[in-house]
C-alpha cells in the first residue's frame, strides 16, 4: 500500500512539473472550502460515491444545496441516497441520514489574486435513514459537528484544511475529522474560462473510544466548463486503517457535478 501511495504522489508531482504556468482554480473535491461564493454558495452539488469494502459495496449519492445568506454566512442541507450491497445479504437502499449545516467566515485576508479565509462550520445530522433493515441505511444516531475550515487560495495553487469534532449520540463513539488538500490548476485563467484542476489530499477520521483511525489519500481531477457547471472525479484509498477486517475500505470512486442555480 505504501508503494502505491508513493507512486500516486510521484505521478501527481510529475504532472505538476510538466506544466510551466499555473493559474486559478475551483473548489476542492474531497474536502470543504472556506470560500462561500459561486458554486460553493449558490449551487447544487451532487456526486456518486462507490465504496468497495472487504465484504460489501456501498453506493452513496448525496445532494447538497448551500445558500449564501450574506457573503460571510452560508447555510445548506445534504440529503443522501444510500444503497448497501453486502456479499451475503440482500441489498438495501433508501434515503440516508439528512444533514443541515452553517458556515461563517471568521477570518478573511484578501490580497491581489489571493485570499486566506477561515470559516467555522457546524453541522447536524439527523437519523432519518432506516435502521430496521439489515444492513441498516442510517446510523440511528444524531451527529453534531463543529469544525474549522481554512484555505489559502492563490492563482497558482491552493491549500485547504479542515479539523472538526463530531459528537455522536446513542453511546456511539465521537470522532475527530481532519483533511488537507493541495490544489493545482492546469489551464490559464480568463474569466469566464474552462478550467482543469488537479487535487491531492488526505482525509482522516479517528474514533476516540474505539481508537480506530482511517486516513485516505484523495487524488482527484476537476473540469470547470465556464460560470455555472463543474465536473469532478477521483479515487480514494486508505493509507492508514486500523479497523476490524469486515469494516475496512478497499477503495472509493467518486464522480460528481456542481451546478450554479441561483
Amino acid at each position: 500500500m505504501k508503494r502505491t501511495f508513493f507512486y500516486w504522489v510521484l505521478l501527481i508531482f510529475c504532472i505538476f512539473s510538466l506544466v510551466e504556468k499555473s493559474f486559478a482554480q475551483g473548489p476542492p473535491i474531497f474536502s470543504d472550502s472556506p470560500i462561500l461564493l459561486g458554486l460553493e454558495g449558490r449551487g447544487i452539488r451532487t456526486f456518486g460515491r462507490y465504496i468497495v469494502k472487504e465484504n460489501a459495496s456501498i453506493y452513496v449519492h448525496p445532494f447538497a444545496v448551500p445558500y449564501n445568506i450574506i457573503a460571510k454566512l452560508a447555510i445548506g442541507g445534504i440529503a443522501p441516497f444510500v444503497q448497501k450491497n453486502p456479499d451475503n445479504l440482500k441489498s438495501q437502499s433508501g434515503l440516508g441520514d439528512i444533514s443541515v449545516f452553517a458556515k461563517y467566515v471568521i477570518v478573511q485576508e484578501d490580497r491581489t489574486a489571493k485570499t486566506f479565509r477561515i470559516v467555522v462550520k457546524v453541522q447536524e445530522t439527523f437519523p432519518t435513514g432506516k435502521t430496521n433493515s439489515e444492513p441498516p441505511i442510517g446510523q440511528d444516531a444524531y451527529q453534531s459537528y463543529l469544525g474549522i475550515v481554512s484555505g489559502y487560495i492563490t492563482t497558482e495553487y491552493s491549500l485547504y484544511s479542515e479539523l472538526g469534532y463530531n459528537a455522536v449520540s446513542n453511546n456511539l463513539s465521537d470522532n475527530l475529522v481532519y483533511s488537507f488538500t493541495f490544489g493545482y490548476p492546469l489551464l490559464p485563467v480568463t474569466y469566464p474560462s474552462k478550467q482543469v484542476n488537479l487535487y491531492m489530499g488526505f482525509n482522516g477520521n479517528s474514533s476516540f473510544e474505539t481508537n480506530q483511525t482511517t486516513i485516505l489519500t484523495s487524488p482527484g481531477i476537476q473540469y470547470i466548463a465556464g460560470r455555472r457547471f463543474l465536473l469532478e472525479g477521483g479515487i480514494q484509498f486508505p493509507v492508514v486503517q486500523n479497523l476490524p477486517e469486515e469494516s475496512k475500505t478497499k477503495v472509493i470512486y467518486t464522480l460528481g457535478v456542481r451546478v450554479l442555480i441561483f
Binding site: 459561486g38 449558490r42 457573503a71 478573511q108 491581489t112 489571493k114 492563490t154 474569466y191 469566464p192 478550467q195
Partner: protein, 109 residues
C-alpha cells in the same frame, strides 16, 4: 458634384456624431479574487445595476471593469458596497478613459 459630395460627407459625420454615446469606463481593484468559480457572484452583483455594461473580470490582475452609461451615476461607496456584498475586498477605483459606444454596441476608446 463636389459640393454634393461635401454635403453628403457632412451629413454622414453629423449622423455618426449623434449616434455615438459617451460611456465612462470604471476600473475597480478587487482583492481576494483568486478563483474563477467564485468570480461569478461579483459579476452578477454588477449585472443587476442599471446602466452598467461590458463587465469584465481579470482574476490575475484582480480587477473588475465596466462601462457606465452616459448620465448614469454610480457612487464609489455603492461600488465598494457591491464588491463587499459579493465577498471580496474593494480597493482603489479608477476611471482609465472615456469610451465611446456606437449603435452596434462596439466600444471605441
Amino acid at each position: 458634384m463636389k459640393r454634393n459630395f461635401l454635403g453628403i460627407l457632412l451629413l454622414t459625420f453629423l449622423f455618426v456624431g449623434t449616434s455615438l454615446a459617451q460611456s465612462k469606463q470604471v476600473k475597480v481593484k478587487v482583492d481576494g479574487l483568486s478563483c474563477p468559480f467564485c468570480a461569478y457572484g461579483l459579476e452578477k452583483k454588477f449585472k443587476d445595476v442599471d446602466g452598467i455594461e461590458d463587465i469584465k473580470i481579470d482574476i490575475k490582475e484582480g480587477t473588475l471593469s465596466f462601462l457606465l452609461e452616459e448620465g448614469k451615476i454610480f457612487p464609489e461607496e455603492q461600488i465598494r458596497k457591491k464588491v463587499k456584498q459579493a465577498g471580496f475586498t474593494p480597493k482603489e477605483i479608477t476611471y482609465p478613459e472615456t469610451s465611446v459606444k456606437n449603435e452596434k454596441g462596439k466600444i471605441h476608446p
